[in-house]
Every structure is written in C-alpha cells, then in structure tokens.
C-alpha cells in the first residue's frame, strides 16, 4: 500500500457532508469508524551533546519525535524521529491478540515472549517516551482525530479514511488518508505519486487541500514509515 494524506483546512459542515454523500454514491464498502492520536515531542533542550557540555546550556538544534496511533492498527504506535527513522511499536503478543480476536499482522511473535525477551506487558510507545525518556523528549502537542469513517473502494485496492482534526479541542480541518495498492501507481517517483493521487482526488470529488504524498525513501517504500512522515508534514500547525 502507498498512502497520501490530505488536509482540508477550510472544511465546513456543508463541504464535509457533501463529500460524504458523494463518496456514498460510489457504493463503497464501509469499514467502520476510526480515530487517531498524533503526538509531537521535541528534544529536551537541556540534554546537551557531551562535546558541548562545558560551553552550552541548551541543545543547539531542535529535533522532533512524532507518534501516531490510529485506532485501525490495534495496540500499535508508529513513530518517526527527526524525519529520518521510523519504527512500529506494538504491545500485544500474537497469542494474546488471537484470543482477543484482533488482527495479528502487527503483533509480537510468540517466540519473543517464550524466550524471555519481553514480559508480555508492554506499554504504548508514546507512554514509554512520556514516562521514561523525559530527559530526552518532551511532549509539545497532541492532535486528535475523531469521528472518522473508513471507505473501501475499487475492490479493496483503494481505501479512503476521513477524520476531523482537533488541536486543543479546536477544529483544524478534515483529514483524508488515501491508501492505494501498489499496482495502481503509474510510476515510482514522487511526481507520479502526486499524479495518481490527484487523479483519485478528482475522481471521487475530494475537496482541494494540502496534499502530501512524499515518502522517506523513494527506492525503498515503507507503508508505516511513509504514512507517519506524511502526517508529520501535514499536521504542522
């Protein structure tokens, strides 16, 4: 899957309902509701590189760590540090996820627990950072996505997720996440991705807004890493 994220900042109740109506006319498969939490952490300025300890009182540069936990990825947190490295954390062991009836494609393999590498009682990564890495990262912002819908189109090759974005309780716009299967892409450059997603945007009447389909590494696509990279670019208030 290759994704793109679109934020319509000028969305009003009318445009949102109109857009939902239009999508419903395409007879999509409804995949239920979803929501997300997006947290922005900044490096703690008082953590100073060892070579500057004697001279500086604050870290000379700013770095950011983002975490994204969408509700459709059960118990998982995607994270991106410094817009360079991405990671997916999860807190359910496969056997526990099976018991709960959760999807198991993102879960800790049983062996990891059995051989003793984890206690099996994992914390979400954003909690871990907030609790134990305070000396390195401090939380700056929490962006919430609520009241989201998931539409599946074109025999499951295209998924459109919509969600309202809130910052400190204020409405910030309508976020549309578009996921397409790799074989619908017209090429393997960022320009061709833009063309593909603009095509989809026109076809389904998605209102114009800030579209981001940049990826971390064009030669080596990574579904989750690229997704959070796009969120971090778009949700930059």
């Amino acid at each position: 899957m290759v994704s793109a994220v679109l934020l319509i900042q000028k969305a009003s109740p009318e445009t949102i309902t109109q857009f939902h109506d239009q999508l419903s006319n395409e007879l999509p498969t409804l995949r239920g509701k979803w929501s997300f939490n997006f947290k922005i952490f900044r490096n703690n300025p008082y953590s100073i590189p060892p070579e500057l300890v004697e001279t500086a009182t604050v870290h000379p540069e700013s770095k950011f760590l983002f975490t994204l936990s969408p509700s459709y990825l059960n118990d998982s947190t995607i994270t991106l540090i410094n817009k360079k490295s991405a990671g997916v954390f999860t807190n359910l062991v496969k056997e526990a996820a099976e018991e709960l009836g959760h999807p198991t494609d993102l879960s800790i393999p049983d062996e990891h627990l059995h051989k003793g590498a984890t206690t099996g009682l994992n914390d979400p990564f954003d909690f871990f950072v907030a609790q134990k890495l305070q000396s390195l990262w401090t939380q700056r912002q929490l962006i919430r996505g609520d009241g989201g819908h998931i539409y599946e189109l074109e025999n499951g090759n295209l998924t459109i997720r919509t969600s309202n974005v809130f910052l400190h309780g204020n409405f910030k716009g309508l976020l549309v996440e578009i996921d397409v299967d790799k074989n619908l892409l017209k090429g393997d450059t960022v320009e061709s991705f833009t063309a593909t997603f603009e095509g989809i945007r026109n076809k389904y009447g998605i209102p114009a807004g800030e579209l981001c389909c940049d990826v971390l590494d064009v030669k080596n696509l990574d579904t989750y890493g690229d997704l959070i990279y796009q969120y971090s670019t778009i949700l930059n208030f």
């Binding site: 991405a86 990671g87 954390f89 807190n91 990891h112 984890t118 206690t119 871990f128 305070q134």
Partner: protein
C-alpha cells in the same frame, strides 16, 4: 508497565541436576521452557544538564535502557554441561547481527527501562516497576549513499554517525578513518572511568549481586576492555569494507539508526541462556550469562565467540511475579506472600534473597567533578 516482585539466588554447577529435579517435582513441569535473550545495554548519548533554579528540584532522570531480543546459538548449547575454557566441544558462538542483510529488518526488539526498586526497611522482596515497549518494524532513509550524494545532508549524518560509515569517494578515506578512530579512542580514554562504571552498573542490573566488590571491579574493567577492543576491531574491520561498498547503496541498519536517533548509544552487550519453570504465578528462571570472547576468534568469521561472564559455571536464579499494575495492592500483597512461601519451601536447596537495591539502580548519575 510491569510491577515485578523478585528474589534471586545462585547455585554452583554441581547442584544443577538436584535443583532441576526438585523444581520439576515442585512445579510438575517435566520439560521447562528454554529462555535465550540477547541484550544491548544502551545509555543516553546526550548529557542532561537542567537549568538550576533555586527552590526547584529536578525530578527528571536519565536512565540506561535495555534493548532485548532473542538469539539462538549456532551449536545447540546444553546448559546442563559446564562450559570450559579452551574446550572445543562446549564452544558457544552466535551469528553476527547488523550485517545489513534484509532479514535483520524483521528482528524484534523490546526496549526496557526499569525504575529503582522500592525502598524501605521491611521489604520482603525486591519490587520494581519496569516499562517496556516492543519494536516490531524499523525503517530509515539514512543510506550510506546519501552521504556521498548530498553534501548538505552529510553534515547532519556525520554528526549523528555512530559507527564510522564515512564515505568519501577518495583514496584518503583510510586516513580519515584512522584519524577518526584515534579521536574516538582519545574520547574513550577520557570516558574510561565512566564506562567502567556503566559496565559495572549494567552488570549489576541484569543479574544478582556478588558480595565481593573487588571481584566486581575486576569484572567490570574486563568488560570495559572487551568493549574497547571490540570497538577497535570493528573500526578496523569497517575500514576496508567501506571502501568496497563505495558505490553500493547500503541502507544503514534501521534499528541502530533508530536507537541513535532516539538518543541512545550502545555501551555493552550480553547473552542469557537458561530455562524457566512456572509455579502458580511465580516464574523461576535458572540461567547463565555470556559475554563476547575477544581473546579467541571464532573459527567461522561470520560468528562471534562467546564465553561465560562467570567462569565458575555458577547458575543464576531469579524468581519473580509480574503484576500488570503497580497500584494493585491486593495482587502485590498476595504475590509477596507467594514468593515468601517459595523462599521458605526451597530454603534447603538454595537461599533466595533480595538483590541489593543500589545495584539495581538504572539511573545515569551525573559525572562527578574531580
């Protein structure tokens, strides 16, 4: 978040069979579960220097972090047999990690930070809170080729570069490398005292405690030496390999890059091999700790030879109960009682004790001014 109640002990190798038989009878578990973990000990790269304000106490601490994964030894190590030095039959070795092969991307790592155990005079067992989160997938855009192609980026990458993946397409590379190596060594010498302390703390964190401080010191410095020689070996090894890889785009190992970006440096490593029994809610683990053996090279260059940390072949024992919430007082009281019952029951076999709290402290202490 896990609230862990634990007691520890150790037994000489000779009483292994007796211990196992007793525990089999006690738990009814004829084939105990094997455990084998590989742990990287990591330390924050940056120094935390909060602004001093009168009347304000800094509550934020820096912690050592463990990155744990599973490992399997190449030669089916049998922990019931003692491992002797220079004995080819019991040689333990492990495949090298981070060789840049694709499958390494799929390795799962648990990042774990533990609090110092609860203080108090009347503790019946050690109680500490452990935070952990498991990384199941990593991805990075940092490639070695990026360094050569984009000069603006290279400065950023260089600052963060952990190892010596400096890729200048000149012949000077080797010189640059050696200069850098020397620099690193100098820095290392400066840090030596600190590292020794780190290694010591690390050792104490992971297992239980020896009562002789002298022994600890020697052990710690040994590990420091190991670490150093390991680093220098790596430096040497990497110099020629980088030359070969000049025109090949190799993505930097995404897990190491992730750790580095998170702000942690690897300072030490160890392997654990053992077995585990379950008695009610109590887990009884019997294991040996292995470290890298740098005196002898493994016959296979793709593998790392391991040796025992404690060459007397002593087994470490840890009994613990994990409680999901540290606020669940009922569970904690009940767990404590269960552990004490087990301690009483096994007292003739081995003596379960509370590990020294100070050795279980994983906080990074600010460098003392000399």
């Amino acid at each position: 978040m896990v609230h862990q109640l634990s007691l520890v002990s150790s037994i000489p190798h000779s009483s292994y069979i007796q211990t196992i038989s007793t525990l089999q009878a006690l738990t009814g578990l004829l084939s105990p579960q094997p455990i084998s973990t590989y742990t990287l000990l990591t330390k924050p790269h940056d120094v935390f220097k909060p602004k001093f304000e009168p009347g304000k106490v800094n509550q934020i601490e820096q912690y050592f972090m463990k990155a744990i994964t599973t490992w399997s030894d190449s030669g089916n190590m049998d922990i019931s047999k003692p491992i002797l030095k220079k004995d080819k039959d019991t040689e333990v070795s492990v495949e090298r990690l981070f060789t840049g092969e694709e499958q390494e991307n799929q390795r799962k790592w648990t990042l774990q930070i533990s609090d110092i155990p609860v203080a108090g005079k009347n503790q019946a067992c050690s109680a500490q809170t452990i935070y952990e989160s498991t990384l199941i997938h990593t991805h990075t855009k940092v490639t070695t080729e990026t360094v050569t192609k984009r000069p603006q980026k290279s400065t950023i990458v260089d600052e963060n570069a952990m190892e010596i993946d400096d890729l200048e397409p000149d012949v000077e590379v080797v010189k640059v490398e050696t200069a850098e190596t020397k620099e690193k060594e100098v820095v290392k010498e400066e840090k030596e005292g600190e590292v020794t302390k780190d290694a010591k703390q690390g050792e104490e964190n992971k297992i239980e405690i020896d009562d002789e401080p002298e022994k600890e010191d020697s052990k710690a410095s040994e590990t420091t030496k190991e670490k150093e020689s390991e680093l220098s070996i790596e430096n040497k090894e990497e110099a020629p390999s980088t030359l070969d890889e000049l025109h090949i785009s190799t993505t930097k190992d995404s897990f190491l890059q992730f750790l580095e970006d998170l702000g942690y440096d690897v300072v030490n490593q160890y392997w654990i091999k053992g077995i585990r029994f379950f008695h009610g809610d109590t887990v009884i683990e019997i294991f040996k700790v292995l470290v890298r053996d740098d005196e002898e090279e493994s016959s296979d260059s793709g593998k790392i030879k391991l040796k025992l940390l404690d060459e007397s072949n002593t087994f470490q024992i840890k009994t613990y109960i994990n409680i999901a919430k540290s606020t669940d007082i009922d569970q904690i009281n009940q767990g404590t009682k269960e552990l004490l019952r087990l301690q009483e029951f096994l007292k003739n076999l081995f003596k379960l004790e509370i590990p020294d709290r100070m050795f279980m402290d994983s906080r990074v202490m600010p460098k003392k001014q000399v």
